[in-house]
Symmetry: C2
């Protein structure tokens, strides 16, 4: 049986391991928290730092294949493991590009993949030379994750708040829609493309409200989005699964925002709503199997379950029973003991035929269900 | 977080634990094989004998709730645990009835649940007094499992092969169809009933060929089958999940064959083809949540993947790639290292709209896919 490892043991690792149990594979997880959501679902758990060269190298050396569930890992160790014959998906070179937002933007530019106009900034002082870019989004080159390391600079007054580190300053785009297209590449056959997912943001709170799949977009927009996602994945030249996040602007132009070289929140609905889920797909790539079928079974809406504002401590799922009673709701709680504001605690997928009904239902769930302490 | 244990660590435990990872629960498995399919998917694995009183008692004493994936467990320990406040589903009294085929038949008789005519036999010598029952099926009272402990006695010449132990001698019924109806009872609300599954047997080999759900039966037959399954579950009076196997005879009469007080092979298709799977349902009962929705998403056909005749040793899945390429096939391999003839190594669910196409596809898979060594 093949031995396959995952760097990181959060909810993405957890869902990967749920899917792994459909195949003959011996699973390994490296994470520095023995209570993490994936720790108990693998054959062999190693407590250790995924950013440390020696730790990652030693962990990977015993394996046939290796993947990640977070970008912040030691890429040098992965590169060495590749040289020694371990299959690393995504490859170290793809990961190196994506991990650093400066390199990632340069990659899009080099490959002529449309993306928002940007300049590279060495430090905070340099921001003053680029007032013409404002309003803009400043993204740290390295170290950002899950909203951290990214901020909006509206006007020159905001420049005093700028990050004082190498970063990308990106012109704000007027976004009409935000999409995600997940592409799976085995390196052996044509990549598989999951139907585009639409990220609907709350108009006032500017928070992700729900995800809808397939996205409600004109066919031409879909074609553009899929073509760009394919350009990204072909450009990266690595087997693996890639979530390409895109903006559709007011003119219907499509731009690549950023890419995640791993399973992604925007694909969680595929567990129930696609023939082959994003997790199943990645195992197929890791194990050298043919790709699965990304086609949707039904329309789906996905809601993230995040810790409510004002509550920190042992998680309590208020209103859970009402959601569990819903005939078309699939509840996934990640088994995290502690909640805190904004922490991802789970997700709920709603499946059905009528898009509007699903969106309405998502709104109802937001009113009755929350994670408190 | 609640602590829930499973007695037994085979594929049923494995699939239970895949489903458990959708909920906040700490999982425990007791099994005397550290390499069993479920061992690596729980928080706490205990190596030990599920038939031993002290082992089961000590294992259960630390838990909030306890279930089984095989009937051959120490029921006395479960009874004691119940007295001490552990939720045991199925209850020890239900398990005691089902575990012994003599008590199980007596239970059907007492509750006036139609079942094949039978007599209870103390030993082999007593068979001679019941030649009028032949052809018959002799079932050992205790200890039979997965086809063992059950045999057909065609005529008086066969009596010399009879089991020499307390057993049931059951008149052979001319079976037109074999069905399974899975019922889930929480004890809190009306039981949920999964659509009936039809077990199609190979006309020559007398082996299970495939399962079809929903079964292709007249509405009246379905009503009878569901009513009988409900009678069984209400009669047992225990929370849990129960697979009631039924015969439909040539006159359209429906008889109960036997009941399994646990998740069951006849419900594996529910993982993809129902809103709430049989595994999800059992977790809802164990955790005190509302029952889920047993409705089908699509029609499904299920094939068991068993070790091919003539091969024993490290499993090789011949033709796996071709099955993995099929757009509507869901492959589940149980991660067992060794195959042997007839060993359950996995299952494949086919989902679609056209029943005949699915059956045809199942036939094609049988020709191209096998487990060898």
């Amino acid at each position: 049986m093949q031995k396959v490892g995952i760097l990181g043991g959060g909810q993405l690792g957890r869902m990967l391991l749920q899917a792994a149990a459909n195949y003959p594979v011996i699973t390994y997880v490296l994470e520095n928290d023995a209570e993490c959501p994936a720790a108990h679902l693998c054959h062999h758990f190693t407590l250790g730092d995924i950013k440390d060269y020696d730790t990652v190298y030693r962990f990977g050396k015993q394996l046939d294949a290796l993947t990640i569930e977070i970008e912040a890992v030691n890429v040098d160790a992965l590169e060495q493991l590749e040289k020694e014959g371990v299959r690393v998906y995504p490859s170290s070179s793809a990961l190196r590009i994506i991990k650093n937002k400066i390199l990632q933007k340069a990659f899009y530019k080099e490959k002529e993949i449309p993306t928002a106009p940007f300049v590279v900034i060495e430090n905070k002082a340099a921001l003053a030379n680029h007032v013409d870019m404002l309003p803009a989004v400043q993204k740290l080159g390295e170290g950002g994750y899950d909203g951290r390391g990214v901020q909006i600079l509206k006007d020159s007054y905001d420049l005093r708040l700028g990050f004082d580190a190498p970063s990308v300053l990106e012109k704000m785009v007027t976004i009409k829609k935000e999409l995600s297209v997940i592409v799976v590449s085995s390196g052996q056959e044509e990549p598989a493309i999951f139907p585009a997912t639409e990220m609907a943001f709350h108009p006032e709170l500017n928070l992700l409200d729900y995800q809808l799949c397939p996205a409600e977009i004109p066919r031409e927009t879909l074609w553009k989005a899929e073509a760009l996602a394919m350009m990204v994945v072909k450009g990266l030249g690595s087997p693996g699964i890639f979530a390409v996040e895109l903006f559709v602007d007011n003119r219907g132009d499509v731009l690549v925002n950023e890419t995640a070289p791993r399973v992604h929140n925007s694909g969680h609905h595929t567990i129930e709503a696609a023939y082959s889920s994003q997790f199943d797909m990645l195992w197929r790539v890791l194990l050298g199997y043919p790709l699965g079928n990304p086609a949707p079974i039904q329309t789906s809406v996905l809601l993230n379950v995040v810790g409510a504002e004002g509550y920190s401590g042992d998680a309590i799922y208020e209103g859970l029973e009402e959601v569990l009673k819903m005939e078309n709701a699939f509840v996934h709680l990640y088994g995290k003991k502690k909640t805190k504001p904004g922490r991802k605690m789970g997700h709920i997928t709603l499946m059905g035929k009528d898009r509007q009904e699903l969106i309405y239902q998502a709104g109802a769930i937001k009113k009755l269900f929350r994670v408190i302490a």
